[in-house]
Symmetry: C2
Subunit: 335 residues, 2 copies
DNA sequence: CTGAAAGCGCTTACAG
DNA sequence: CTGAAAGCGCTTACAG
């Protein structure tokens, strides 16, 4: 005599079908041996009642939550958002449900959510963004999810159960510099509109490119803020400081879009006078006049790789703790 | 003698603290009466073990999953993505976890996920996007979540447990037309780069505005595709067809950004010759030269309202089944 | 092929 | 203030 509650349980179904709860469970889970006749009767009653098995109960007894946690710091970053999309689609296709949390950039919030995920006994975690590569997160994982596979997209964190998938932005920027050299550009510069783990990598790639393909030349690197005015000023200053500049790599497509406007105002022709490249390969590079070359840092591939690798681990396979994904240059009219 | 498994349970804690599981439970949940001394001892052991109570078990016995389902068809729509963000933040702040699913535009997939959510016994659902306003979804809710409060953002669906929160885009566009009239514009046009439930509303708003503020004038409405070339052509054609046009409302900011470029090429000065407005109030309106006026359809407010209303219902309050949110015009240099 | 029973990890009257 | 017991809705040996 269970279920004095509202929702219908397998006991209700069992009673109505004149079988035991065990049999109902077997039918629901397509387990082994149930006489065809019985199976059909149960199935019918199941459908008639629109029966929905309680996942919490199932998870409790089988010790498998079939749940994956996704952590992301903020949605404003479009690439990260797409990341969730790929991860969720891939995991859902394999029978997992995704518990998602927006952590903000506050590291103790991140830790709090990791703890929260551990309460749901998630079978895996995907964290999207280099911002999760911090000590609070590391400690929280150590304490609350010491054995759960955790994937970090675009950042490094060293632990036996943490796996990192990273886009090779550094190498990508170096390749961009090489392309510039091949096209005969003499004085490339790189401009940033913000400082982050990612911008640091890009800057390193740029410096490496300069020392390799422009030996002896000093790397021209400048930073500013994200508004249109700041970008305009930075571009203007660049040419006052170094008028011979004939190529600019912008740290982000949106910055490149603004920068191209300013180059136009300065009377610089693209690509004749100045070659331009952006990073991210977003819609901005397509709506710009001219359309500009952009480094595709394949962030969706990063997420997709994380999802697939997690699935592999969940299926008992082994996976490398550090996966570096190549970027690719999408050439357009600006170089 | 429980817990032959891996994870530590309240029984382990109880044993170590020399109390009963009941007492441990009371401490964890800050329930009523536990002697201060006992409480402290238990708390200490809890912390020492990094104890994480099993949410599935808690939910099973309390019949409350503390879980909310979020359904979204695709992330590519930035506004919707922000929607999830607001919903998740708000609900998390109130102790709920969010189960998220990307459904694609396939209505039977939507139905499948609704069923999936019912297995987790979610206490509420938020669906983001008018695309969920279809019969498959309605039937699935009727069958699997007949009593769970469901919020639909930007669409209508009629059922006792379904609540709709909608941005008044129609009224907003009408207001935009009024603004144009007030500024002395004589021949406004409206251009669209896609057909959707939303564009239909906007067009209706435009037509209403024209018949009210430009009595006798025929509403100039044209459609094209999303590429830069198509938008360019549409703008060019507009002036061939109706050279006296002195104001254009674009159905989306990104389209306005492209359109402004083309107006420039045509030698039209903004706002002197042609006034321009976009819709969505996104970053595009800020990076454009000139910055343009945009109708903020407050999609984040739609989501936030859905989240707050859901919370209200969860707390036993009553909420209107249909909430219409006013839009607001953000004026910039283009009118 | 099928059922009775135990148990997953919790909470909550109930009794003391 | 505290513990024993029952039960949430399932699954899974075990026995037949």
């Amino acid at each position: 005599m269970r279920h004095k509650s509202g929702s219908v349980t397998i006991y209700d179904i069992a009673k109505e079908a004149g079988v035991s709860a065990s049999t109902v469970s077997r039918v629901i889970n397509n387990k082994s041996t149930v006489k065809e006749e019985t199976r059909e009767r149960v199935l019918e009653i199941l459908k008639k009642n629109s029966f929905s098995p309680n996942e919490a109960a199932r998870g409790l007894v089988t010790r498998s939550s079939r749940m994956i946690g996704i952590l992301i710091s903020d949605v404003r970053t479009v690439q990260h958002t797409e990341g969730i999309y790929f991860v969720e689609r891939e995991l859902a296709a394999n029978g997992y449900s995704c518990l998602i949390h927006y952590t903000t950039k506050n590291t103790s919030e991140m830790a709090r959510y990791i703890r929260e995920l551990s309460r749901w006994k998630v079978e895996g975690v995907v964290m999207i963004g280099s911002i999760f590569a911090n000590e609070d997160v590391l400690n929280a994982i150590e304490e609350y999810l010491p054995k759960t596979p955790v994937f970090l997209c675009n950042g490094y964190l060293k632990r036996p159960n943490i796996y990192c998938v990273v886009s090779d932005e550094k190498g990508g920027v170096t390749n961009l510099v090489r392309l510039l050299a091949e096209k005969g550009r003499k004085h490339p510069a790189m401009l940033f509109n913000q400082i982050s783990a990612s911008s640091t990598e890009k800057e390193r790639g740029f410096r490496e490119g300069i020392s390799t393909y422009y030996p002896g030349q000093e790397a021209m690197v400048r930073y500013c803020g994200t508004t249109r005015e700041e970008v305009d000023e930075l571009v203007r200053n660049l040419f006052e400081e170094k008028p011979e500049t004939d190529a600019i790599i912008f740290s982000e497509d949106i910055m490149a879009l603004m920068g191209i406007r300013m180059l136009n105002d300065l009377g610089k022709k693209i690509p004749e006078d100045v070659a331009v490249a952006g990073i991210n390969n977003m819609v901005f590079s397509e709506i710009s006049i001219p359309r500009f070359t952009s480094l595709d840092n394949v962030l969706h591939t990063v997420s997709a790789t994380a999802a697939n690798s997690l699935l592999a681990i969940l299926n008992g396979k082994r996976v490398s703790h550090k996966i570096l994904l190549p970027t690719r240059i999408v050439e357009r009219e600006s170089i």
